[in-house]
Symmetry: C2
Subunit: 304 residues, 2 copies
């Protein structure tokens, strides 16, 4: 299986604690990196993670609250100090570019690279990013300000060549691409070797869904059905259900209910309120509803 | 002696490392806190230090480079989330308020407290802050952008009452303030008790000088003469002397030369370039010139 990992850089909520950084994650698909949210300190955590700055080309911002984007200025400045040349693409709800522009103009006067902003509407799900191996689609969420989660969907890979069979039939290299794409092979003698003998199907494409910040929103279930990994915010425990509603956040149990309804394979919860000395209560409340749940933490790296 | 301490929150330079945060310090004078510079992550380090957010009312920004002020937005937001009501005063070179305004307007819409900006000219030394126990004066430095250090000077305290003598002469409480201010005391019998018998002089007022960022600038020596503690940037080792000049920074040896020329009591060096895996070379180069030198680090708390 090719690498498809989620690295948590920060999983606290807005108030800083000694245990958690503000929201930020890095999706690592085949050593290409995609950042989700960029709270204060994201570049410090990124550095600590040993992932390579140069592998990051896209940042996805869920919403314009400080704990999800105050790390952008530092990260952009650092890339500039390092002499980055590759374009950096930032995807976010409307308004971010205009907000950052005065600070960027002032603090990053001579940029060695371009920062390109792509702003999306948060009301409807839309495809905002696509490359050879991945699509990213927004997941409209309900928070105090316009907010979207993101669905990272690996593309279906081509069939895998069975090396022994290809050697056995002495298939020339220039035929390999056609065979990966499903063609049969005809030998010089005119014998047809069916594709099924020369290839095995690639593994099923994997999907990761990021849902933060949001009030309990069952309408997202359809879009994240059976994803391999779901990150869902779980700011509060059940005892704070009223506060969760009031602030448009979710409880751990609600996160688990979404996971169960969507029949996801695994749930990671995060965006923890500063009030919890540890998150055991959140974990146990979630597990009561959806067993395959784990807590995010700042050193977590998990396979999708 | 009353408390006068320096807490280092961050002593790295612009590029993040796994070992150092960007510039930020807290001066603690009798449990009133004064922040100097506020790089990214300052609020996280502040929280870790166990110092109280509510004791901070003034922030002094040396210059408008990101690694000295990108932490302001997060700190201001956090104070707002915590429902702070006391005014927060920010002292900085010209331009900061205008730069931060759009972000503050957007991210901190309903402020529970006021942020007041006080911008100063960096060309001449000026008194920018004064309260009952302290003055803060700028120290003009030479960097790539307008930049000042800060001289924190404790005010001379009143004489200290000698409790035993005051009890012996049955001095009434309402006389104590006059005696602290130097008056003699006349007993009901008309006997004059000289002040020198009732008090001891308060300790000499202490001074702390912060000088970062700056190229080697011997002209600051006069202003920081014989301070109790000097923090001076030491971005580079001697081997990088040319680079230090080019970027308007100092070497560790130059920092020590300033300390020696000013006959300061103690030198702490910081603002370390990311290129050093550890700062042993900086420390030994500085100590060769000024023995009473120590390296800053993110948990350092040192008495002035």
């Amino acid at each position: 299986m090719e690498k498809f990992e989620l690295n948590i850089l920060g999983c606290g909520s807005a108030l800083p604690t000694t245990r958690h950084f503000a929201s930020s994650q890095i999706v690592n698909l085949r050593d290409k990196l995609y950042m989700i949210d960029c709270g204060e300190g994201a570049q410090l955590q990124f550095r600590k993670s040993k992932l390579k700055f140069s592998r990051l080309n896209s940042i996805f911002i869920s919403h314009l609250h400080g704990d999800h984007c105050f790390g952008l200025l530092g990260l952009i400045s650092t890339f500039n100090l390092l002499g980055r040349t590759a374009e950096l693409h930032i995807y976010s709800p409307h308004g971010l570019e205009k907000l950052l522009a005065p600070m960027l103009d002032y603090f990053c006067r001579q940029m060695t690279y371009k920062v390109l902003f792509h702003e999306f509407d948060t009301k409807e799900s839309c495809l905002i990013y696509e490359d050879r191996s991945l699509t990213v689609t927004t997941i409209p969420l309900h928070h105090r300000v316009p907010c979207c989660g993101f669905l990272f969907a690996e593309k279906q890979s081509l069939n895998h060549i069975v090396r022994d069979m290809v050697d056995f039939y002495k298939v020339p290299v220039y035929e390999l691409n056609r065979i990966k794409n499903g063609s049969d092979y005809m030998t010089p003698d005119g014998e047809i070797i069916p594709n099924s003998r020369l290839t095995v199907p690639a593994p099923l494409p994997r999907r990761y869904a990021y849902c933060s910040d949001t009030i309990y929103s069952p309408e997202i279930v359809e879009q994240i059905k059976e994803v391999d990994l779901l990150f869902h915010e779980a700011t509060f425990a059940n005892a704070e259900l009223a506060r969760a509603k009031e602030t448009f956040h979710s409880t751990a149990m609600q996160a688990a209910e979404i996971a169960r309804a969507a029949k996801v394979k695994k749930l990671v919860i995060g965006h923890f309120s500063a009030r919890y000395e540890n998150e055991d209560v959140l974990l146990s409340e979630a597990k009561a509803v959806f067993l395959n749940t784990q807590l995010a933490n700042e050193t977590l790296c998990i396979s999708v």
